[in-house]
């Protein structure tokens, strides 16, 4: 199997989705917690292009970008598959992963990182992306079907971070009334063993989000 290290950060959802993938497959790895305000020389060496976490190091070879890492893990360790075998189903999973990480995430962050009128305007587009996802998960236990898969890991920031964003910004986007299927999914997802093995530290998440929010407010009010 070789030497496996993951350079990451426990409050980063890009990082934790990789950890969950490894745990789901029962793969042992060494986790190196990076201080994002003071990145290690090793991280900068292994990801010189983006200088970001997560970076997976397998037998000395680095892989960066969480979605790329997830596919690498899937192709290297065939146990407990995360992606469907059928090319069309796989294509659908990749399509939705892009939608979640690009369209959905950017519209949600627009809500979180804005205030007042700007924030009000940002809410509707964010809700629309979540509505599309709610439609997509309807009738399914997980995005992966009966058991958790790649797309559930990609969407995991919705189950863990969105409520925190909501708490800090005062705008709760993921409500059971508005998106019953997506809400039910997040409950199912949080019950999966591999997920429960490492949960993002909620208090830290809240603290960081709150600090970021107040930084923004201070900058706005200058």
């Amino acid at each position: 199997m070789g030497e496996l290290k993951l350079f990451g950060n426990s409050i980063s959802f890009f990082s934790i989705r990789v950890e969950w993938a490894l745990k789901f497959k029962g793969i042992e790895y060494e986790f190196i917690e990076e201080d994002l305000t003071n990145k290690s020389p090793l991280l900068l060496k292994y990801n010189p292009v983006h200088k970001k976490i997560p970076v997976l190091l397998h037998n000395g070879k680095p892989i960066a970008e969480s979605l790329v890492i997830l596919e690498y893990i899937e192709e290297t360790w065939k146990v407990n598959p995360l992606l469907p075998e059928d090319p069309y189903e796989k294509a659908k999973a990749r399509f939705w992963a892009k939608f979640i990480d690009e369209k959905c995430l950017s519209s949600v962050l627009s809500v979180f990182f804005s205030q007042g009128e700007e924030q009000e305007k940002a809410v509707e587009p964010a809700l629309e992306t979540l509505k599309i996802l709610d439609e997509e998960i309807k009738g399914k236990k997980f995005f992966g079907g009966e058991s958790m898969g790649y797309l559930d890991l990609v969407a995991s920031w919705i189950s863990h971070w969105l409520p925190v964003f909501g708490e800090c910004s005062g705008v709760n986007l993921l409500s059971a009334e508005r998106f019953p299927s997506l809400y039910a999914w997040s409950e199912n997802f949080n019950k999966v063993d591999a997920i429960k093995e490492k949960l993002p530290p909620r208090e830290q998440l809240v603290a960081i989000s709150a600090r970021r929010k107040s930084q923004l407010a201070a900058a706005e009010n200058k």
Binding site: L67, I69, F95
Partner: protein
């Protein structure tokens, strides 16, 4: 080779569509091409790509696949001959990494050189050049990212070889200088010389004319 009813919804001037055409040609797959008028999208397109309502969309049988990178991987997995992605998982990861880099870093930068003016344009110009320098390193002295023949990153990024000179002509500024980006320059030439690329490029004068109009619209809207 018959593709069991493969349709491609596209637009002649879209580099995203061109990528998919190259992937299909690499595999020798026959397909029906449907040209979309993006100002008047067909009901079929809107049905097949209800989320983004964009081209390209590949339809295999009755199954639609959208997003060019997703489509290329689908093609590679459905038709196993003439592989576009390498076999080795690490090499595949590297290919996907560089493809993402082109999408997320290079495209916004080159778009900025095209759609902005003055200081803002300069910033994007520097960013685009920096990204090409980084991309050059990814080439690692090979002829193509795929080695001796074109691979995933060449299919995803090769349009740059044709579009950059067009953009340079329209904005009147050189972005890729031979001296500062020798390997990228060579890669451009090798891409444009590759048989399936040569035979599928959109006509240059039409492309320049269209991009000029598009640019005026972009500059006008930010006034």
């Amino acid at each position: 080779m018959a593709g069991e009813g493969v349709k491609l919804f596209g637009m002649w001037a879209s580099p995203y569509v061109l990528r998919v055409i190259w992937a299909l040609k690499l595999k020798g797959i026959e397909y029906e091409y449907i040209e979309e008028d993006l100002s008047n999208k067909s009901p079929l397109l809107l049905q097949y790509n209800s989320v983004y309502k964009k081209v390209p969309v590949l339809v295999y049988g009755q199954k639609p696949v959208a997003e060019s990178l997703v489509i290329i991987e689908f093609i590679d997995e459905m038709w196993k001959h003439n592989p576009i992605l390498p076999e080795d998982p690490y090499e595949r990861a590297m290919a996907r990494f560089w493809a993402k880099f082109v999408e997320e870093k290079f495209i916004p930068a080159i778009f900025g050189t095209f759609s902005k003016l003055g200081e803002e344009q300069e910033k994007f110009m520097e960013e685009a050049k920096k990204n090409l320098r980084i991309l050059e390193e990814g080439l690692q002295g090979k002829k193509f990212f795929g080695g001796e023949t074109i691979g995933f990153v060449d299919v995803v990024g090769g349009w740059i070889a044709y579009w950059v000179p067009v953009i340079e002509e329209i904005i009147g500024i050189k972005i890729v200088e031979e001296e500062s980006l020798p390997l990228i320059n060579k890669w451009f030439k090798d891409i444009l010389d590759f048989n399936i690329v040569k035979e599928s490029l959109p006509p240059r004068d039409k492309l320049v004319a269209l991009q000029k109009v598009y640019r005026e619209m972009l500059l006008g809207s930010s006034a």
